[in-house]
Amino acid sequence: MSQVVTIDARGLSCPQPAMLANQAVKKAIGGTIEILVDSGTARDNVSRAGAHAGWMITVEDQLDGSYRVLFTK
């Protein structure tokens, strides 16, 4: 099973969550990247960054109102 890279972008202002997602995507050639965000804006921006880079995006709502965005390839 491939390793999951986790990025905690909760509480960060724009555009930092999307920048962190971009950096992770550039480093990885495949597998799973898990990005934790806590606003709808960051969720959308991060998802868009991953989709642009050709990754499959899954968003999971968390009980505390935050989101777990999964990039897989």
Binding site: I7, G11, L12, S13, P15, Q16, L20, S39, R48
Partner: protein, 368 residues
């Protein structure tokens, strides 16, 4: 409701928001707002500062309902779609200072990014230098972001904190309607606490209810679509993402067409409403504004709408803009139609130095 939300968060959301701003802003001008100033968050912060007596420039004092509506519209959208999330703790005092500096820079140009685009859409070519300055300021901000600049994380806050700004806005609305006066001085001039211009830009405004409803509509749409006039340029330069830029293009096109239809398109450099022709300081003022907005994470409208969602740090930025606008007139740094004022250029230089210091010293990386 969820299909509306999906549409507004899709690529069409910023485009629709930009188009509606581009249509409604010139309509507000037609109905009484100053020229090319249907919406200007910097100018309107300055007018509110004047109305509250934070400066005494008699021609720019009016509690602008568009600002009140914008924040309350964003609050409404956030409540409807479960995004009202009180939070704070991301360097609030730094954000306050950035708000002050951003508005000081914007008032050297005479407009925030929203008005820069609206001025261009009205044919004011001086706005081109302001927009070039804005792009330059954002580019400098991106350099800091790439070096790891961050104002740190925010954290969940008590629900009551999220209601402070909406209640402040309701208080402002009350002050606008009641306009209480505690007395008059020896020459019969009202002593406040609420001041209202009887001449100049502050006296020019669309009917209160129209301005308020337009503000509510724009705040609602912009909260959902994340419309941001600084993020538009930042994201295309930094992330090659045109999602927000499409909204600004829609704003420009809609403003141009609406101004044309209303007979308000007056192309040229000279004689433009509430504008000066000093290209260098139109550029310089917006370098400062663009840098400060980028370091704070978004344009003044975006900060207003985030404050409506319960973001206490964005609320500090908004308060910084109002206080900064007060300083801009008290310290004679705000430009007039005649050109930059005595201390405007110096304020821009000092402001950029402070922003660079903030950019170099504030760092926190996300946990990877």
């Amino acid at each position: 409701m969820s299909s509306v939300s999906r549409f507004l968060t899709s690529r069409w959301g910023p485009i629709l928001t930009g188009a509606i701003v581009g249509i409604l802003a010139p309509v507000l001008v037609k109905l009484g707002n100053p020229g090319n100033m249907g919406i200007c968050v910097a100018c309107f912060s300055r007018d509110i500062a004047g109305a509250l007596g934070l400066h005494r420039a008699a021609v720019v004092q009016y509690i602008r309902p568009e600002i009140i509506g914008g924040l309350l519209g964003a609050l409404t959208a956030a409540l409807c779609f479960g995004e009202f999330r009180p939070r704070t703790g991301s360097a609030p005092i730094v954000r306050f200072v950035l708000g002050m500096l951003a508005v000081i820079g914007a008032l050297v140009f005479l407009g925030c990014p929203w008005r820069a685009y609206l001025r261009l859409g009205g044919g004011d070519w001086n706005a081109i230098f302001g927009i070039l300055g804005l792009v330059a300021g954002i580019a400098v901000g991106i350099l800091f972001l790439r070096r790891g600049f961050s104002l740190g994380r925010n954290y969940p806050a008590p629900t009551a904190m999220g209601w402070v700004m909406p209640l402040v806005m309701l208080g402002l609305l009350l002050a606008l309607v009641v306009a209480p006066q505690f007395g008059r001085d020896a020459s019969g001039i009202a002593t406040g606490p609420i001041f209202t211009s009887s001449s100049g830009p502050g006296s020019q405004h669309a009917p209160l209810i129209v301005s308020l409803v337009v503000g509510l509509a724009i705040g609602f749409l912009a909260q959902r679509s994340r419309f941001c006039t600084v993020g538009a340029i930042r994201d295309i330069l930094l992330l090659r993402d045109a999602h927000l830029l499409n909204g600004v293009i829609a704003l420009l096109v809609a403003a141009f067409l609406t101004n044309l239809a209303l007979g308000q398109f007056n192309p040229g450099m000279t004689g433009q409403p509430i504008a000066h022709t000093n290209a260098w300081w139109n550029f310089g003022g917006m370098v400062l504004a663009g840098l400060a907005f980028t370091l704070a994470g978004g344009c003044p409208g975006r900060q207003l709408f985030l404050a409506g969602e319960g973001d206490g740090d964005a609320a500090m930025f908004v308060c910084g803009m109002v206080v900064g606008a007060g300083f801009a007139h008290n310290l004679n740094t705000a430009s007039s139609a005649a050109g930059p004022s005595a201390f405007g250029p110096a304020a821009v230089v000092v402001g950029i130095i402070i922003c660079v210091m903030i950019g170099l010293t504030m760092r926190e990386r996300g946990k990877v």
